[in-house]
């Protein structure tokens, strides 16, 4: 079983939900990321999503766009991201790491070379925002052959047929985008999420992580009750942006927020 499947299985048996932070690799500078990852694990996260910076992040709101720009200013890239993941793995063998990014860096590297390099870096999952299953079957097969889970997005307007398609090509977990919009948007509608989750459950047995619009311990708890995992990104990256002159402070605030979310998810708010 993959590290991701194991993680969700163990959480499920313990009656707990996955806390999944998203940070952009190399933001605010390259050496920040690995210690940040370890500190997040200590704060109780279960899976880490690493955002691979891209020059044209079409599905991201301003907060993650600027994180990408800061990382690119330090020449962060897909190859260097794999290096960061490898460094993290040296001292952490249990926390799944998922790469989340856009297709063109993978196109530039070559699908096969990327799949091999990701396997060497012991990456557990790859989520490519602009690679729907119609175009992504080749890539998904290369990843699966190396025990890497291809992870797909679902949206509020995804049909039952789409959900079944993702269930067939995806593995690890499905990422439900809880609202129509870009990352960091603020109009989360809990009743809509609740209704949609019923449809998702009816069409897939994969764990469902829910993201977009999770800001604080209360939203994390509310969302956790509906799915199998909670993804939080812009709220963390905002801490980095607010403390560009003091990254240690940013790290501290991120840890505090994640610890509060963990606590709320496990014990109620």
């Amino acid at each position: 079983m993959s590290r991701l499947a194991n993680t969700f299985e163990a959480l499920n048996q313990a009656g707990r939900k996955a806390l999944v932070p998203f940070i952009t690799v190399g933001d605010p500078y390259p050496e920040f990321t690995v210690p940040m990852m370890h500190a997040m694990v200590e704060a109780g996260v279960d899976v880490i999503e690493l955002g691979v910076p891209f020059s044209d992040p079409m599905a991201d709101g301003p907060v993650i766009q600027r994180a990408s720009e800061r990382a690119l200013a330090h020449k962060m890239s897909l190859r260097r991201t794999l290096g960061v993941a490898m460094e993290f793995r040296r001292t952490n063998q249990h926390t799944p790491v998922v790469l989340m990014g856009y297709l063109n860096p993978i196109e530039a590297m070559g699908y096969e070379e990327f799949a091999n390099a990701a396997a060497r870096a012991e990456i557990d999952g790859v989520l490519t925002v602009d690679l729907p299953p119609e175009e992504g079957e080749h890539c998904a097969a290369l990843l699966k052959a190396r025990d890497i889970d291809p992870i797909f997005l679902l949206a509020p307007n995804s049909s039952a047929e789409r959900i079944q398609k993702m269930d067939a090509v995806g593995s690890g977990y499905l990422y439900y985008v809880s609202l129509k919009g870009v990352t960091g948007a603020g109009h989360l509608d809990i009743d809509n999420v609740k209704a949609k989750l019923e449809q998702l459950r009816a069409n897939t047995r994969l764990p469902v992580a829910i993201g977009f619009g999770v800001k604080d311990a209360i939203t994390a708890k509310t969302i956790a009750d509906l799915g199998d995992g909670v993804v939080v990104g812009s709220a963390l990256i905002s801490k980095i942006e607010a403390n560009l002159d003091n990254p240690e402070q940013a790290k501290q605030e991120i840890i505090e927020l994640l610890a509060a979310m963990r606590h709320a998810m496990d014990n109620g708010v």
Partner: protein, 406 residues
């Protein structure tokens, strides 16, 4: 007018999922899959619908002012001493460029689909103006995204869009040009998918846009073919058009694709020169990759990050190109060349002084290449150049270059 669908017999690209060989496709985030499928269904349905075609034809004739003339530039041809040069006068269309052919078509689709809000991206502002124009006419809300750099260099068009009732959003992210405007329009679309129709201005984006925009622009080539045939009983020897995203070029080329004796030549912007890296010529000096929903030639670095482009003309300042051009290049059916900023200026002045027609800086790239090509051809041969737009919008840029305060 079934022609809209059946314009070529042998050439049948793209396939049902929008692929031109390895190019094209539908590379978008999941939220955009349903609206793109909805759009594709509407597009397939209405291109076959006599009522829709009749309405489109009527708008093209009475609102756009079609057919546009095919003008024999006799003095310029004589001066260059080679091929006979004909200009397809898209500059004479309402709003001053070929862009309106496509916005009229897409706006009619939006209306039939019951969408109440229109968004668009624009570089030079020509597509933004053409979109704001049709939105005003149909009483639809209109938001146009434009890179902050372009807002500054095309301020006249910004004012026109505002006059027409559109909201113009200056995009401050990335390189602040056309590609960033496209990113921002896509972000708007995922947020407002239910009531919003995204009118893309060129043959880029996910399927069905490249095919759909081509089909709306193919009126250019259809008319030119008929007009030239009526005048001479023959086909022309070569077609020349500038290539930004590639919509005016494919619009001219498409009805001629099966006619293998007709050379198709696309002209990219070489900016300061290909060797300097400061250009916008992905077909001449780029590599295949995926951006804005399709696979095509792109200007990207070894890590796959999109690199900044440069051209004197905002409308050519784009790091990608329509996927069909990538296919036509690889198969050798079309040929792609490039023209520097300075050469384009030569083309601009030549047409202005020789024929009394002031071309857009985008179109000036095609003029400049024709100046090189025509003298290598015989006097009984013919070159049709797409004059995609008029130069009014570039008066400030040109005056500033000449040190004149307007």
């Amino acid at each position: 007018m079934k022609q809209l669908i059946k314009m070529t017999e042998k050439y049948t690209m793209p396939d049902a999922r929008g692929h031109f060989g390895p190019y094209g496709g539908m590379f978008v985030a999941e939220t955009l899959i349903p609206p793109i499928q909805e759009l594709n269904a509407a597009y397939q349905r209405y291109l076959d619908d006599p009522d829709f075609i009749a309405e489109l034809d009527k708008d093209l004739q009475y609102y756009v002012g079609r057919p546009s003339p095919l003008y024999h530039a006799e003095r310029w041809s004589r001066e260059l001493g080679g091929a006979q040069i004909y200009l397809k006068r898209e500059d004479l269309n309402h709003t001053g460029s070929h862009k309106i052919n496509n916005t009229v078509g897409q706006a009619l689709l939006a209306k039939r689909m019951g969408k109440t809000r229109i968004i668009a991206e624009t570089g030079a502002g020509q597509h933004g103006v053409a979109t704001a124009t049709v939105a005003a006419r149909l009483g639809l809300e209109c938001v146009v995204y434009m890179g902050a750099v372009d807002v500054a260099r095309q301020s006249l068009n910004v004012y026109r869009m505002k006059l027409l009732g559109a909201t113009v959003v200056a995009v401050e992210s990335g390189s602040k040009t056309l590609k960033d405007a496209l990113n921002e329009a896509l972000r708007d679309w995922v947020t407002n998918v239910d009531n919003t129709f995204y009118i893309i201005g060129t043959v880029a984006g996910p399927h069905p846009y490249p095919a759909m925009v081509r089909d709306f622009q193919a009126i250019i080539g259809r008319e030119a073919k008929q007009q030239y045939f009526d005048a001479t009983g023959r086909l022309p020897d070569a077609l020349v058009a500038c290539v930004g995203g590639g919509s005016n070029a494919i619009g001219l080329f498409y009805p001629f694709i099966d006619a293998s004796s007709v050379k198709l030549i696309g002209v990219e912007a070489a900016g300061d020169g290909i060797a300097t890296g400061r250009h916008s010529a992905p077909l001449s000096a780029g590599r295949p990759g995926v951006l804005h929903g399709n696979r095509t030639y792109l200007m990207a670095d070894d890590d796959g990050e999109i690199i900044e482009t440069h051209s004197i003309s905002a409308g050519l300042d784009y790091p990608g190109v329509g996927p069909e051009h990538a296919w036509l290049k690889d198969t050798g059916r079309a040929q792609y060349v490039s023209i520097t900023d300075n050469e384009a200026l030569d083309g601009f002045y030549a047409l202005t002084r020789m024929e009394g027609i002031i071309p857009a800086l985008e179109s000036s790239h095609a003029m400049a290449y024709a100046m090189k090509l025509a003298p290598t051809m015989r006097q009984d041969q013919t070159l049709i150049i797409n004059l995609s737009g008029r130069g009014d919008k570039d008066m400030q840029t040109m005056a500033k270059r000449e040190g004149i305060e307007l």
